[in-house]
């Protein structure tokens, strides 16, 4: 049984090899990075409520974690 994921191909010569452009790789990461960053931004905004809207007057009796 052979692995169909890796169908044999002719070995390329160095001259034939065209490497993916670093700009293309960067663009691919930007395409997924922008929506991810947008979502994380909203989550961080939401998470800050824990620190801004916790009643400080009643905050820990125990020593804060350093």
């Amino acid at each position: 049984m052979t692995d169909p994921t890796t169908a044999p191909t002719t070995a390329p010569t160095t001259a034939q090899t065209k490497k993916s452009s670093p700009a293309l790789v960067l663009l691919a990461w930007v395409i997924v990075g922008i929506p991810a960053a947008w979502g994380i931004y909203f989550t961080v905004l939401n998470a800050t409520k824990l620190f801004t809207q916790t009643s400080t007057s009643a905050l820990p009796v125990a020593a804060p974690i350093k």
Binding site: T5, T6, P8, W38, G39, T54
Partner: protein, 465 residues
């Protein structure tokens, strides 16, 4: 169909010089999309006000009815991953991703009809069943491809993708809220149009993954990397067929490992908001509790990448030992941070964040663990079947948490005390997971595929621990 032949595996073989770093964004495009399922709760209230618009009216659906849509979607995720996993291995990641995109988007479109005709069963069929199939296919589709592209760092690569699933809700939630606000009119809640737009947006975004993903050529390996001459006995150099793997004790031990880790995590996720408010009465208000839930989701997502990457260095078994030993101890200790004892919100938050990072880490590290045990050949299919542990935990976790807590409250135990019982039970479950992980041994030779797969057997990952 000739028109769709570009989806075939042979048409997605990477040309020489193709950068493997294009594959994780392709996988992320899928996982960031389907991770939206965890944000489905934002539709709960609007779906119960389709007639009343500003408040539920006679004939509107109940929240308890609507809540089942999410449960059905997660159940179908597990089932479809298990059923279609083997097909995916032959069809290739591009075709599977395309099918996932079609199903996931179609789920939204069909649900739009459900909203339009006010028929709940159509939404169950759309988002729950059709969308659920898209979830299952999408979740497992990039796994074996990533492992083949990153034989030196299988944990890092699958961790990146599965981190996307954790992050999907972070995009899906504000997106849905903003779209519903945009489409809201005095006579329309705006859910139907939101479904329509989200289905379209997600389809386009997932197509980026479909067109970008490639499978490596025969004999490909990372530049300058040579498989280690001697690696751990816990990392196989052979492949096991999915049907054979299903019958090995290793599969079922890992099934228990995942199930226990997820069930324990759900113990916190399920009650995060009320728990912090009850343990710190008068200190943490609902808005701050919502912030706590947001913080947990960040650690859930970050833990997926962090722990899966760490596992490449310390080994998969050791990583799960940390989850179960440290996790068990922290679950046992966390009630002590409450108002009746140490009264430290910061300590409580810190501990629960670590616990949630390990919950996410458990999801993200399991594909690499499966690769170590069974080889890369059928790893997506085996992973698909293992996800039934997730479906089981999805039912077991909330059931345990809610039933035990309710029983405790009925017996007159105060709210904080009831949480203690639940959290101690979660510590016990992690102990079970610890034992299951301890019992994991290399798969016996008789289970190996008779003919070795050149893709995986030739390439051995770096985690020789």
């Amino acid at each position: 169909m000739a028109l769709l032949s570009f989806l075939d595996r042979e048409h997605s073989i990477a040309p020489p010089g193709y950068s493997r770093w294009l594959v994780p964004p392709a996988a992320l495009a899928i996982h960031l999309s389907i991770g939206q399922v965890y944000a489905f709760s934002v539709f709960k209230i609007p779906l119960t006000q389709l007639i009343g618009i500003t408040k539920p009216a006679a004939g509107d659906w109940k929240q308890s009815q609507v809540a089942w849509i999410f449960s059905v979607a997660i159940l179908i995720l597990g089932l479809s991953a298990a059923i279609f996993g083997k097909w995916l291995e032959t069809a290739g990641p591009r075709k599977a991703m395309f099918a996932a995109a079609v199903c996931f988007s179609a789920g939204f479109f069909v649900s739009t009809l459900g909203v339009h005709f006010h028929q709940l069963w159509i939404i169950f069929l759309g988002y729950g069943v059709i969308g659920g199939i898209g979830l299952g296919l999408g979740y497992i589709s990039p796994v074996s491809t990533l492992i083949k592209w990153f034989p030196d760092r299988p944990g890092l690569s699958t961790g990146l993708a599965i981190m996307g699933f954790g992050g999907g809700a972070m995009i899906g939630s504000p997106l849905a809220v903003k779209l519903m606000a945009y489409f809201h009119t005095p006579g329309l809640v705006g859910v139907g149009r939101t479904f329509l737009v989200m289905g379209t947006l997600y389809f386009i975004f997932m197509m980026f993954g479909v067109f970008t993903v490639r499978v490596p050529r025969a004999g490909w390996k990372p530049e300058g990397w040579t498989p280690p001459a001697k690696s751990s006995v816990m990392i196989t150099t052979h492949d096991v067929d999915v049907n054979t793997a299903f019958r090995t004790p290793q599969f079922w031990l890992l099934w228990i490992v995942l199930c226990m880790n997820v069930t324990a995590g759900i113990g916190i996720i399920e009650q995060a908001s009320p728990m912090i408010q009850d343990l710190f009465k008068g200190v943490v208000k609902p808005a701050a509790a919502a912030g706590f839930v947001g913080l947990l989701s960040l650690f859930n997502m970050g833990g997926r990448f962090f722990w899966a990457s760490i596992s490449d260095f310390i080994g998969r078994k050791a990583t799960y030992f940390i989850f179960f030993a440290l996790g068990g101890a922290l679950y046992y200790f966390v009630p002590q941070t409450g108002g009746d004892h140490l009264n430290s919100v910061r300590l409580f938050v810190a501990i629960t964040c670590v616990l949630l990072s390990m919950y996410g880490g458990g999801f993200a590290t399991i594909p690499a663990y499966l690769r170590d045990m069974f080889g890369a050949h059928h790893v997506s299919a085996i992973h698909g079947r293992l996800l039934t542990a997730w479906s089981t935990a999805g039912i077991l976790g909330p059931l345990l948490v809610n039933r035990i807590r309710e029983a405790q409250l009925l017996q007159g135990v105060d709210k904080a005390g009831a949480y203690q019982t639940v959290l101690h039970l979660m510590a016990g479950l992690l102990l079970l997971g610890f034992v299951a992980n301890l019992l994991v041994r290399p798969v016996q030779e008789r289970h190996w595929m008779s003919e070795k797969s050149p893709s995986s057997s030739a390439l051995r990952p770096a985690a020789a621990k």
